[in-house]
């Protein structure tokens, strides 16, 4: 009798879920933190940065203490980490947004039709100059690098994943690709220089050298990305193809590659995006010129990053127009890279296998 009576009491005393902060807790604490931060900041007479730091600290401490008092140690740790993670995110975003804003606001005034169609040949002082030569240089050098590195990179990844599994050579190649990932871009430039010096003598500058240097940087990225994607293709797919009597190379080209295609395209896109903005190797091997050069195999070739570097460091007299051109070129370069990204994403989505979802 007493038993049946006490049972509901016991259930009330020991609820199934522990006490939790209300859903809106982070927002409440955030509001309090902002008030505290701004208040203290005004009191101390400090700027926005100090206010933000104070508000962030208040938020992290506040929500942790509140959670500790209500949810216990584990809940408090969870809240602490959550707020730290979000704080890290906010801190990281500030410089990145500032960078984009700076480039857009300073680069936009430089843009005009002439900016894209004029080269810098014979441009002195205030005269209208442009980035046509640098655009051509960037396109050709990057194209050359892509033509060299995409086939080599993708085929190497295929070898590593499909053919050389666990062989000693495959292990050596994987290791070397890792080493290549770490080759500093300037060393790649020096390599291209050292290579072409053997054939053309000292002081050689040519666009193809830039392509070679860039492909040295691009190949490992392509290999790693492709390798990862090929590994993600389920073994069942390959086995199903083999069971139907499909030869191995047809299996790879018709089953494995299409399945991994979206990832591979993304990897190649990231690789191109990485090298298209490279300055250092091109500074060394492709050199700098003010004129348009369509020939990858002869003479100096300016690319956009090199153009930006020289326009900013040696803007000429007066420096105003040169610096403005540097920002304009930076904006164009970023726009090109982002356009490539968008394009690759669309392509990647179009290539993606139908998952039936």
């Amino acid at each position: 009798m007493t038993d049946t009576l006490t049972r509901p009491d016991a259930r009330d005393a020991m609820p199934l879920s522990g006490p939790r902060l209300p859903q809106s807790a982070p927002w409440i604490v955030a509001a309090v933190a902002v008030v505290v931060g701004v208040g203290l900041g005004l009191l101390l007479g400090r700027g926005v940065v100090v206010m933000a730091i104070l508000a962030g600290l208040t938020f992290v401490v506040g929500i942790t203490v509140w959670a500790a008092s209500l949810e216990g140690r584990r809940g408090a740790v969870d809240r602490l980490v959550t707020s730290l993670v979000w704080t890290a995110f906010a801190i990281a975003l500030v410089p990145l947004l500032s960078l984009v804003w700076t480039v857009v606001s300073r680069g936009f005034p430089a843009l005009s039709v002439d900016f894209f169609t004029f080269s810098m040949r014979g441009v002195i002082g205030d005269a209208q100059g442009g980035i046509y030569h640098a655009l051509i240089g960037t396109l050709l050098v990057t194209l050359g690098a892509a033509v060299i590195s995409i086939p080599i990179g993708v085929m190497t990844a295929i070898y590593l994943v499909e053919y050389g599994v666990k062989s000693r050579l495959a292990r050596a190649i994987t290791f070397l690709v890792d080493v290549m990932t770490g080759i500093p871009s300037i060393v790649a430039g020096l390599f291209a220089y050292a290579l072409f010096v053997l054939f053309f003598g000292e002081g050689i500058r040519l666009g193809l050298g830039g392509s070679v240097a860039l492909s040295l940087l691009m190949i490992p990225v392509v290999v790693r990305a492709t390798e990862e994607m090929l590994k993600l293709v389920p073994g069942e797919l390959r086995e199903a193809a083999y069971a139907l009597g499909v030869p191995k190379w047809r299996t790879i080209t018709k089953v494995v590659l299409p399945t991994a295609m979206s990832g591979i395209v993304t990897g190649v896109m990231l690789a191109i995006a990485r090298v298209i903005g490279e300055t250092a190797p091109l500074l060394i091997i492709a050199g700098r010129t003010d004129s348009v050069n369509f020939n990858l195999f002869e003479d100096r070739m300016t690319t956009l990053p090199v153009f930006i570097y020289y326009s900013y460091t040696q803007p000429g007299v007066p420096p105003g127009p040169g610096v403005e051109r540097a920002w304009g070129a930076a904006l164009v370069l970023i726009a090109i890279v982002m356009g490539l990204n968008l394009l690759a994403r669309v392509i990647g989505r179009a290539f993606a296998p139908k998952t039936g979802r």
Partner: protein
């Protein structure tokens, strides 16, 4: 009849297979040759630089005296960058993969991807124009109030073009890359592991600590390694931001800073000729050896944690 068809089909299969596997093997060997080429050509062109006379070494008495301050600067800048960037990018990756609602996470991830592609020279110009001047008051404050710490001995730079600024720019540069890779790996953690952890009553942090991190450890190490490699070899941002004078000092906020190998090459090479070119190539070789060593160590760490996971 049927046997001949079978045979021809089989032989066709063999030809296609051997051609394709040969191509794959060939591509792999090209990488081998290319890397051997890098080593050989750099050594060939760099060797004369090791014994170069004083006039090609910018005042240093021997090659090692010339290159040591540069090595120091390279390591210091990369270290600053790594210390700042690693926690931030792991946090950022976690926000994108686990904390933010999916509707928000997708565009954020996209923005980070785009930022990974912003060219280093742009970061460099931004570092001079925006970041450096912003940091000048902080440097002044540090020199006044924290000068007992050797890092902040002062006198503070008035342009903000210090090794700390350079390290900060490097950190901001490698942030999107490390974030992108970490996010990718976090997102690949098996959903079942995560749901199992949550079903056992783990909080979100416990789930991440026990299900996501062990799975992602080797990937995180290689992400950081990629970031470190890029920070070590990063040229233009440092060449632009840093006002270098070839000294060895831990003082991170003054206007006399150690230069880095890569930045030094970029600044000297366009005007260099004769033996100076060989000296610069030799210093590039030193940089190559350093990044090689770093990668080797990082790979060993990643491999070990992978083995531990497999057990």
């Amino acid at each position: 009849m049927s046997t001949t068809v079978e045979e021809s089909r089989r032989s066709g299969r063999r030809v296609g297979d051997s051609v394709f596997s040969g191509l794959a093997l060939g591509a792999a060997l090209v990488i081998l040759v290319a890397l051997a080429g890098v080593a050989i050509f750099l050594v060939l062109e760099g060797l004369p630089g090791l014994t170069a006379p004083e006039e090609n070494l910018g005042g240093a008495s021997s090659f090692w005296g010339f290159v040591w301050p540069l090595v120091f600067g390279t390591l210091l800048a990369a270290l600053i960058a790594l210390v700042i960037a690693t926690p931030l990018s792991v946090g950022m990756a976690l926000v994108i993969s686990h904390y933010a609602p999916r509707r928000v996470a997708k565009p954020i991830g996209y923005v980070v991807d785009l930022l990974a592609a912003v060219p280093s020279v742009v970061y460099g110009v931004w570092g001079i124009v925006v970041l450096g001047p912003q940091l000048v008051p902080s440097y002044g404050w540090l020199a006044e109030n924290a000068s007992f710490i050797p890092f902040f001995a002062g006198p503070a730079s008035t342009t903000g073009r210090t090794i700390f600024t350079a390290g900060l720019v490097l950190a901001i540069m490698i942030l999107p890359i490390v974030t992108a890779i970490c996010r990718e790996i976090f997102a690949q953690t098996p959903t079942l592991h995560q749901e199992a952890a949550l079903a056992l009553g783990a909080t979100r942090w416990e789930m991440i600590r026990m299900a996501v991190f062990p799975y992602a450890k080797s990937g995180m190490v290689s992400a950081v390694m990629l970031g470190l490699g890029r920070a070590l070899g990063e040229t233009m941002a440092v060449a632009l931001v840093l006002s270098a004078s070839g000294v060895i000092t831990f003082n991170m906020i003054s206007s006399t800073n150690p230069s880095t190998i890569a930045a030094n090459i970029a600044l000297q090479f366009p005007e260099a000729s004769g033996l100076t070119v060989n000296v610069l190539i030799a210093s590039g070789l030193v940089l190559f050896v350093i990044t090689f060593g770093v990668n080797f160590a990082a790979r060993a760490i990643a491999g070990r944690s992978e083995r531990r996971l497999a057990r």
